[in-house]
């Protein structure tokens, strides 16, 4: 029995004791094949999944290495069945290969005729395949590259894609490092992607995913299509690219609801791509408008399902996915793996934080006791209205205002879901509100002022969730959230996790009504953060209100 830092559970979770002297070494060793599920303060949980193991195979690790690592660091004897299962799973990746054939185009190749036989029997797979050339080679119908990979993954035989990529139209792009320097991990991420061909880079919010994208473009030196979540994000991408690369304004186009520019580098929003006119996706032509050499997907975990379908069609183009998390609330991780590619680079949040790029954050839940009258109203409210009711109570508003006043000297963001509540807060505090119907120009103006420090406090609705850059927000106050979405919590925390100039600790307040569904949802969201290692503190609203007697 060794006394290692790792405990291998029979349900395929790995528990890593991070207080153990070997934990760092072990963490590095297992990161390649196990997915970090949660990383609270003492024991981190990793999970062995087929996708994770195949990701490792894609990165060139073999089963023997994985088994060796498990045995080497394990504290207790490892169940033999689990090791057998690991080897068995890993051996499935790469048994099937997609290759380019000089005569027949795309072919599916396997040195194991039995596997080939098995998959060709699959109902979904069979129609995508054509003539069998010999025992080991079958022609794939043109245009089925992506769909075939998807179907094979579902059968448990993920295919390795060696069919190569088109270079796309050449376009000179380089990084301009004046006054800033690309960080080591960003460089590694871009290289990891480039050598893998296509795939996903996982970096936490604020770790500079845009720069990884720019570095990838500099590798490709080709026309690039960038898909982002919304218009604000699109403008930020443009600004960043102008600042960090040799690209000038004329070379970058925006393809959104308001503008339809197609330039060597085009930034399009998910929304415009999924807009339908009379049941037809109206803007699909964009994928063929230019001979793209690279397609970048920002925030892959939010990629809408229709885009997956388009992506299946463009498997010969290099694809880079950028995201903070591979967890998708809709469970479509397999699609990301087969259509965009395996994970190419990954750094846990805490590690980057330790390197000083992300500000450490204090997360505080403020628990509010509802008044008797409010409790009575809550109890008699219709079940579907309860959440709205308890998250917009007057008591909560009072607490939010008290908090905002307490931090009036700092940059404060108040985030919420319900517009009435936000209106009231904005009015009472006398600060501007940004919501869905605020014009983009006005939004940018307000963000500009906020960044400049001329406005100290902003109230924002959920439009602010994604991809806006508010570098100096040090305090975020969440008054209501979208039920229990873990994504959202991570995004919100991301808002204030951006590096602070003076290294101050950021603070994230979440105001929660005690003994209501609000508290249940809050618990779900917080569990996600606690699992990421951000321990929550809880304070009672009384303590804040008594400190601010008005």
């Amino acid at each position: 029995m060794t006394d290692g830092p790792l405990i291998v559970q029979s349900d395929k979770t790995l528990l890593l004791d991070i207080d153990h002297p070997l934990s760092d070494e072990c963490r590095r060793a297992i990161a390649s094949f196990a997915e970090l599920e949660k990383s609270p303060e003492h024991i981190h949980t990793y999970r062995l999944t087929p996708l994770g193991l195949w990701n490792a195979r894609a990165a060139g690790h073999d089963a023997e290495q994985v088994v060796d690592i498990l045995l080497k660091y394990s504290r207790f004897a490892v169940p033999h069945a689990l090791l057998v299962d690991v080897a068995e799973t890993m051996s499935r990746y790469g048994r099937l290969r997609l290759e380019a054939h000089p005569v027949h185009g795309l072919v599916l190749v396997s040195h194991d005729p039995a596997v080939l036989k098995e998959v060709t029997r699959g109902k979904k797979v069979a129609p995508m395949l054509g003539l069998q050339l010999d025992d080991e080679t079958i022609v794939v119908h043109p245009g089925q590259r992506g769909f075939l990979k998807q179907a094979l993954l579902k059968l448990g035989w993920p295919a390795e894609d060696f069919a190569g990529y088109v270079d796309g139209e050449h376009h000179e792009i380089d990084l301009v490092q004046d006054g800033w320097k690309i960080r080591k991990y960003q460089e590694l991420a871009a290289e990891g992607f480039w050598h893998g061909g296509s795939g996903v880079v996982v970096l936490p919010c604020g770790a500079g995913k845009t720069i990884v994208g720019a570095a990838a473009m500099a590798h490709a030196k080709a026309t690039t299509l960038i898909l982002v979540t919304n218009t604000i994000a699109a403008r930020q991408w443009r600004d960043e690219l102008l600042k960090r690369t040799t690209l000038n304004e004329d070379e970058i186009g925006e393809y959104s609801g308001s503008k339809k520019e197609i330039r060597p580098v085009t930034i399009a929003t998910y929304q415009v791509m999924t807009t339908r006119k009379q049941g037809v996706y109206a803007h699909l032509d964009l994928f063929d408008a230019i001979d793209w050499g690279l397609i970048i997907y920002d925030e892959v975990h939010l990629l809408p399902a229709p885009i997956f379908r388009f992506t299946a069609d463009i498997q010969s183009r290099r694809r880079l996915g950028l995201t903070a998390t591979l967890v998708r609330e809709d469970g479509m991780e397999g699609e990301v793996f087969s259509l965009i590619g395996p994970k190419r680079f990954d750094v846990p949040w805490r590690e980057i934080e330790a390197q000083g790029y992300i500000a450490p954050a204090d997360c505080i839940e403020v628990r509010v006791d509802l008044t008797e009258a409010e409790r009575l109203n809550y109890a008699t409210a219709e079940p579907e209205d309860r959440y709205r009711f308890c998250s917009t109570t007057a008591t909560k508003r009072k607490v939010a205002i008290a908090l905002a006043k307490k931090h009036s000297a700092e940059q404060v963001l108040i985030i919420g879901q319900y517009i009435d509540q936000l209106d009231a807060l904005s009015e009472e505090l006398g600060v501007p509100l940004i919501k869905g119907d605020t014009p983009i120009k006005e939004r940018e103006r307000l963000f500009g002022l906020y960044r400049a420090g001329e406005i100290k406090c902003l109230v924002v609705s959920k439009v602010a969730n994604f991809s806006i850059d508010l570098p100096d927000a040090t305090i975020a106050i969440q008054v209501s959230g979208t039920f229990g979405s873990r994504q959202e919590e991570a995004q919100r925390l991301g808002r204030i996790l951006r590096p602070k100039s003076d290294g101050r600790t950021a603070r994230f307040y979440s105001i929660v009504a005690r003994d209501t569904v609000d508290q249940d949802f809050a618990q779900n969201r917080q569990r996600f953060l606690a699992e990421q290692g951000y321990a929550y503190g809880i304070i009672d609203a009384e303590d804040i209100l008594s400190a601010n007697p008005d």
């Binding site: 029995m1 405990i7 291998v8 559970q9 029979s10 003492h42 207790f76 321990a535």
Partner: protein, 718 residues
């Protein structure tokens, strides 16, 4: 010396030889025979001979079969001439097992043994009555040669259409005595011809030795580590399953055993497949750790608690010992293609499985550090015990040995070896990870026990947290419902917090404390109890007076609120008692309205009048008319009734049936159905066996069986 009897020969054997006989055939010892005649009778009895045959290996069986070809008494030289040189040693072993006995310098078989081997040993036919001139073989027509070739290696019988005109090929063979006639459609190859064609040897090939063992090399250290993981897994499964069934006991099926749904649910709970679960459940059942209770619930017994108090090594070895001996085969549970056999059910017993387990593990013990090739192992065992061999059982035995931790990575572990050698100290206790006495609590409300917990700790944590992941360590999660469960079990919020502070190596995170406080604060705020009647009064003074009144103390009033008392007596009794004590109570109904007079007493149960068994009442006109109509219709129908088959006695019936079967003639029988109604059937009788007549029924055109006692009469068909 003339013919010697089996008993005399046994009598002549030395004491050592008799002792050796008991060694190889232990069943002869129980009970100890009174004398050697009794011993010889038992050794020649069919059950004992069957057992002896089952214990023979493939080569011994081959030799014994060859002996059956020979005429008694036979000499060793005769045996060797029809077998191989290795057969000589086996003859001695067969003699030691009293499966052959000596007659002077020659040998004989015990009388019953020939019957057990069969009429056509090794596929050779009966001896020919006629003289055969093998010289004519060289002139054999090609067709006839083909026939001989087909019959040479058995079975020796062949079918012909009509023996009167057998055709050229067979005709030639019959003429030259190379075939004999068995009956009107069957010919058989005589033994001498068979032996001649086989070149004088009984079998094409003899297999004096088993295959060589093939396996994959393992390191003993790795094997033991894997085995220890298996052992701790297995013990955890046992414990967990018993706990799970104590919380949610499955209900036994009416046909016995546990249903597939419960099996699946429990398998899911343990995170294992159904085969594993069936195995664990069976082992617990064997050990008496779980039982089907009188109300059909499957529950852990007191023995489980006793078992839990023993050391890990004792827990393990006690269960493994049961596995070695049991005749129950849990692998049969849920086997595809067979009717569903339930775990803990009555249909799992199979003969010979226990000896198969021993043989399997002995082979592993002879090949340490080897993970056997399953096919090869099956072949070896098929050679060692051809009569009992079952390939699936071997597979299951290996699978189960791995689950139990007797093996690790397929090879026999040090612990398994120690157990096979019946060593005192198996070394399991030392090899298992030491129980830990602390947990680590984290901010996401999970707790991790970085090793197996002591029994008390795991019981306590089990009540206040849900288990999330199992293995070497356990991961628990605290949630509102798990804390509530702890409070339901009688813990207080403070006790839970104290326990966690004491047990956790890390500080208890603030959110968890808040969670416990919040739940504890709400827990029990609503109280539910039962009372039969209440007493209310707006005068609190009077309420207090009644509460402390000695005269009505026996009513045992409890005060719920300043103006309300409750008690467990009926309202009527309470009113009467209070009146006797000088109070002036009044009853009230559900809405608080005063009932002026006490309610007349009524039973609470629903009316259940007894059944009326009265005189027959005169029927009304409609009934009578209908009855008459029925009678008339019945009358008309009976005039069209077919002729009833005359009744015959049982003996007559049998004789007649035999006669008709011989004549192959159709006949009509009267046949009583289960209700006693007799119907006529036109049939072609075919055969009679076990009190049943097999016949073709003309009505359906299909084969049917008729129970003879139900046949009321037989007559020729018209």
């Amino acid at each position: 010396m003339s013919v010697n009897s089996f008993a005399d020969e046994l009598r002549a054997r030395s004491d050592e030889a008799i002792a050796a006989l008991f060694q190889v055939r232990p069943d002869l010892l129980s009970p100890v025979p009174t004398d050697l005649s009794a011993l010889s009778a038992r050794a020649n009895s069919t059950p004992s001979l069957m057992r002896a045959l089952e214990s023979l290996n493939k080569f011994q069986l081959e030799v014994l079969t060859a002996i059956c070809i020979l005429n008694e008494p036979f000499s060793k030289a005769e045996l060797l001439s029809i077998t191989t040189a290795d057969a000589g040693d086996e003859l001695l072993r067969l003699w030691a097992a009293a499966l052959v006995y000596k007659d002077g310098s020659k040998f004989r078989l015990p009388g019953n043994l020939r019957h057990l081997i069969g009429d056509e040993p090794a596929g050779l036919g009966p001896q020919s009555q006629k003289k055969i001139d093998f010289k004519s073989l060289k002139d054999i027509p090609t067709d006839s040669a083909a026939v001989l070739e087909r019959l040479t290696w058995g079975p020796p019988r062949g079918q012909v259409v009509n023996i009167k005109s057998p055709g050229k090929a067979i005709g030639w063979l019959l003429e030259n005595n190379y075939l004999m006639v068995m009956d009107s459609r069957t010919v058989v190859l005589p033994r001498e011809v068979g032996m001649n064609l086989r070149g004088g040897k009984v079998l094409k090939e003899f297999t004096p030795f088993a295959n060589k063992f093939i396996g994959t090399k393992r390191k003993q250290g790795d094997v033991d580590r894997a085995a220890i993981a298996n052992i701790s897994n297995f013990l955890r499964w046992c414990e967990e399953l018993a706990h799970n069934w104590s919380d949610e006991p499955p209900i036994a099926l009416r046909s016995g055993g546990i249903g597939i749904r419960d099996l699946k649910r429990s398998a899911h709970h343990l995170g294992v497949d159904e085969n594993t679960l069936a195995f664990v459940a069976e082992i617990l059942y064997l050990g008496g750790l779980i039982v089907v209770d009188t109300d059909d619930q499957i529950l852990p017994t007191n023995s489980f608690d006793i078992w839990m108090s023993r050391s890990l090594e004792e827990r393990w070895s006690s269960l493994v010992a049961l596995w070695f001996e049991t005749s129950r085969v849990s692998g049969l549970v849920g086997k595809s293609g067979e009717k569903n056999i339930a775990a803990l059910g009555p249909e799992l017993d199979r003969a010979g499985i226990a000896s198969m387990r021993k043989v399997t593990l002995n082979i592993l013990a002879q090949n340490l550090e080897q993970d056997p090739d399953i096919k090869n192992l099956q072949e070896i065992i098929a050679w060692q015990m051809p009569q009992r061999f079952n390939a699936e059982y071997i597979e299951w035995t290996l699978r189960e040995a791995e689950w139990l931790g007797l093996t690790g990575q397929g090879a026999l572990s040090e612990f398994g070896r120690a157990l096979l050698n019946e060593e005192e100290n198996l070394g399991v206790e030392n090899a298992l990870p030491k129980p830990v006495d602390h947990i680590l609590i984290q901010a996401d409300n999970s707790a991790i026990a970085p090793g197996p917990l002591t029994v008390e700790l795991s019981n306590m944590i089990g009540t206040i947290a849900d288990i999330e992941s199992r293995g070497g360590a356990s991961v628990y999660r605290f949630s509102e419902s798990s804390i509530r469960r702890g409070l339901d079990h009688g813990q207080t919020g403070e006790q839970i917090k104290d326990f966690l502070k004491k047990t956790s190596k890390t500080p208890v995170p603030q959110p968890l404390e808040y969670l416990i406080n919040d739940v504890a604060k709400r827990h029990g705020r609503l109280r539910v109890g039962s009372a039969t009647s209440y007493l209310r009064c707006e005068d609190e003074g009077l309420i207090t007076q009644i509460l402390y009144d000695k005269k009505i103390e026996h009513l045992q009033f409890r005060k719920l609120a300043p103006q309300v008392l409750v008690c467990d007596f009926e309202a009527g009794d309470v009113i009467n008692t209070l009146r006797e004590a000088g109070y002036l109570p009044a009853g009230e109904n559900m809405n608080g309205i005063l009932i002026s007079a006490p309610a007349i007493r009524r039973a609470k149960s629903r009316p259940r009048p007894p059944r009326v068994i009265s005189e027959v009442q005169a029927p009304n006109e409609i009934v009578i008319k209908a009855a008459v109509r029925t009678l008339r219709t019945g009358e008309k129908a009976s005039s069209h009734k077919p002729r009833e088959v005359p009744r015959t006695t049982a003996n007559e019936t049998l004789d007649l049936l035999h006669q008709y079967i011989e004549e192959q003639a159709s006949l009509t029988i009267g046949y009583a159905d289960t209700n006693g109604g007799v119907s006529n059937r036109l049939i072609d009788p075919i055969s009679i066996s076990l009190g049943t007549l097999i016949a073709r029924d003309h009505a359906t055109g299909e084969m049917a069986s008729f129970r003879i006692p139900r046949i009321t009469g037989v007559s020729p068909a018209k």
